[in-house]
Subunit: 510 residues, 2 copies
């Protein structure tokens, strides 16, 4: 038992230290609303109070100090774990740099396949890739880290990032703040689902951007299926519970509608025979669905979705209530499940940052993905956009763009490092070489029932091949299968698809 | 849009009906604390208020009325979805009976493998089997149902079960009550983790009985691993965060400790190199670990666990606080994760039921698993025990026992049905034939690092083969692989084991 005694001693010792009011100690009980928002989405709020009941015991040292020439490698701090951030971390030369990643989630989400997880076509874990597997150095190298935290502010003059830990309900630790000094900073914070300030969206609709969103959609769908079967539910209530409404006819909305109608056609009809005639999917879009695709594909998609039972409704949402939404023309649309996928906009943090902005309020960057007017700061992915001065259009918020930017910046940083410009303020007058140029490889979207769209045109106006139907569905699957990052997940996705094909989708509600 | 208009009409119509105070209508806004407890464990409390905001619209009809000779099959109502209930439902002849299952979860949990899911050796879904796949009739036959609800009371004279729906946070429906008339009732409600009234256990410890428990343990473990890496955490706090304490040295506790030390040895050392020296597992047991196994195996297990870094502590817990627990001898044991597996006892509902009880407060049954003194009521699994009058000992709370009882009762009910005793009160003077006899097939437990124990003795005193080591680990795995119910899950478990072996465990925190 001596071990415990020692441990007890140590902790008391440390707690004495902490009571000496170090700057860190002061910050320990800080909470910020966003943090609570995150909490409320976590699994276990049963003992949420525990997290308030205790603050961690800080040491006087609370942060990563500037790197020292000779003693340490230059430090690249990456904010975010999306497509851009992960592609960058994958490509960066960890013999030259230490990598520190800050994000509220420790995995990358393979967003194009997220819709499939909601109905059990894929397992959740198959579309999530731990950062440690994308860039092993982060969990091995002494100077590289992943911090489960969110960035709260930047000090670009001091080259410092202010962070706060993300701790949800179950943890008996209150969030605390710390600082990280950087030599190079890469902002890849992504964007935020846009609600256009429509009342009730945040409260009642579910987005489809994180794994926990997919989990929520799945649980809600299965709950409604089961509740609608219980004695005492009226016809109207059954219809409402089993009415799935998707707002937004972009690829995400369309893919989710497609998956959902597949799920209904193939699985619900067998497994929930009692209520099969009550479940319906409605896709609400203000303009055209899949507006980025060419007309032929769009018509094809419209027919396919309609055939597979998806109601396409042209309309604009005015208000969202707990059990129904109201369209501009006053129509009341009762729903049991409401999924919101109407595109993205800049997050509050991005808005708050004192940096040049691009049209649309993203962080403004030049052709080398640098943020001008400050040293050693880069921005990639959905949070960034070309400055007007570059004369280039702001690129669309696509995984494709983010991934390409991450790849480019990785090699650029490696080049800078090789040229001895890795440290803070040491690359001022360096020649950066070729700027970043984006080539659109085309768009893909699945529309359910083993059909998909592949649009290989360079731009909306440009000409080029466009496919629709089973062939392109096959192209779609293979394309993604080769892009799911680790072999483990490739294997799992393949197996998921195979088992779904053979056994149907999983319907256990866990 | 006409569809929506009609729908709107229907709902208003029904809501008018509901306002006419039908007995059902009155019950609709009833909430019971247990229900909230369940809510608090669900994923989404963000809009929990929604569930209060709206009550469902009842039809005058709210329940399943008594079955009518000629019109319907006799109805077997099964309470629970554990080993006993599921084995029964699997075996029951659905040409002879309609089956109605009532449970707060729509799947069976393959409990022996639950410990493996906490550390990512297995996926959660691999150990959960949807009821619809165990007994397809439930989702297909017009008279068979699964109701996501819990039993609140019994009326054995009227042959009626009182139920209340289980609706968690996200649902915009308030729970409501309904009744089910039965011809035969099978109570398989299982047991409840026992806390021995120790203060703080329910609030701060995690049990290991449901899939959401495993999910909570996994999330907590990964959260602590990541938090302990963030700047500002003291040495003592790191030690605490990464100290996993398991209370209870039964098979569950031992298997979990074993899995955990495997996880630490094999995965944490690589993936969390910075903190690998801080993570420790302690197993606290008041008496001997694995007391049901023979001495040789017990000694073997003790050595193996100690070798793989599990601290075995003989002690009794006096009090549990948010960050530490206190032993009877006053030792303070700081913990970051506390798992409680000290056996089970009867649940509040079982205690509340006005039925004969066995020693230990379980529902008293005779040799035919009948509850005497009432007609057509049977009890199986952990919630039941032989009456003293039978002269038989109360059987241990093992999956093995529950499974055997379910199998026996299925064939007994089929026999009764064939003899025309399916309806309520129609089997009064029937000859039931051979009573239920339990033959212990022996016990198995894995202790990590590819080692397990297999004890094939009939009883604690009896003699017989007992194995330890890799061979029995192999026996253990194959035994379970053949017992995981559906082929889909057998496949998944096999694949999980294979990929874990090749790629290591998954560490994404979703």
């Amino acid at each position: 038992m001596s071990w415990f005694r020692n441990l007890a001693k140590i902790s008391t010792l440390k707690s004495l230290q902490s009571s000496s009011s170090s700057p860190a100690a002061k910050l320990h009980n800080h909470h910020t609303p966003p943090n609570y928002l995150f909490n409320s989405l976590s699994h276990f709020t049963s003992n949420a109070f525990a997290s308030a009941s205790a603050a961690p015991k800080p040491t006087p040292y609370a942060g990563l100090e500037p790197t020292r020439e000779g003693a340490e490698k230059p430090r690249v701090v990456v904010l975010g774990t999306g497509w851009a951030a992960c592609r960058l971390m994958k490509g960066i030369d960890t013999n030259m740099y230490d990598v520190v990643c800050v994000s509220p989630r420790n995995h990358m989400v393979f967003t194009p396949l997220l819709a499939s997880t909601c109905v059990g076509t894929l397992e959740f874990r198959s579309v999530a890739e731990p950062i440690g597997r994308i860039q092993p150095a982060i969990s091995k190298e002494p100077g590289s880290y992943f911090f489960l935290a969110k960035c709260t502010a930047l000090d670009t003059n001091q080259h410092v990032v202010h962070c706060e830990t993300v701790t949800d309900g179950p943890s008996s630790v209150a969030p605390w703040k710390f600082n990280i000094s950087y030599d190079k900073l890469v902002i890849a914070l992504g964007a935020e689902a846009s609600t256009f300030g429509i009342h009730g969206v945040k409260e009642h609709a579910i987005f489809l951007r994180e794994v926990y969103h997919a989990q929520e959609i799945r649980r809600r769908l299965l709950l409604n299926l089961m509740l609608s079967d219980v004695p005492g539910v009226s016809e109207g209530e059954k219809k409402r519970l089993l009415h799935c409404v998707v707002v937004g006819g972009g690829p995400t909305g369309v893919e989710f509608s497609g998956e959902l109608s597949d799920f209904i056609m193939r699985d619900v009809r067998q497994r929930y025979a009692h209520v099969k005639d009550y479940i319906h999917v409605t896709l609400i879009e203000a303009n055209e669905i899949l507006s980025s695709f060419d007309d032929r594909l769009r018509r094809y998609a419209t027919n396919q979705l309609t055939k597979s039972g998806v109601r396409l409704v042209r309309g604009t949402v005015k208000d969202v209530e707990p059990q129904q939404l109201i369209l501009n023309d006053g129509t009341e649309v009762p729903y049991g499940l409401l999924v919101w996928s109407t595109g993205v906009g800049p997050s509050p943090l991005v808005k708050s940052l004192d940096l040049p902005k691009s049209p649309g309020g993203r962080i403004g960057i030049d052709e080398w993905l640098r943020v001008p007017s400050v040293e050693d700061v880069f921005a990639i992915g959905d949070c960034s956009g070309f400055l007007e001065t570059t004369g280039k259009p702001v690129l669309p918020a696509l995984a494709q763009v983010a991934e390409r930017q991450g790849k480019y910046l990785a090699s650029l940083l490696n080049k800078i490092g090789k040229a001895g410009g890795g440290r803070a303020n040491s690359a001022k007058d360096m020649e950066f070489g070729d700027p970043f140029v984006y080539k659109h490889l085309g768009s893909m979207a699945t529309i359910g029932s083993y059909k998909a769209l592949v649009d290989l045109r360079q731009s909306k106006e440009g000409r080029g091949i466009s496919l629709a139907g089973f062939v392109s569905w096959f192209v779609w699957r293979s394309a993604y299968l080769t892009r799911v990052i680790s072999w483990r997940n490739r294997l799992y996705v393949a197996i998921n698809w195979a088992t779904t094909f053979v056994f149907g989708r999983d319907i256990s509600r866990i």
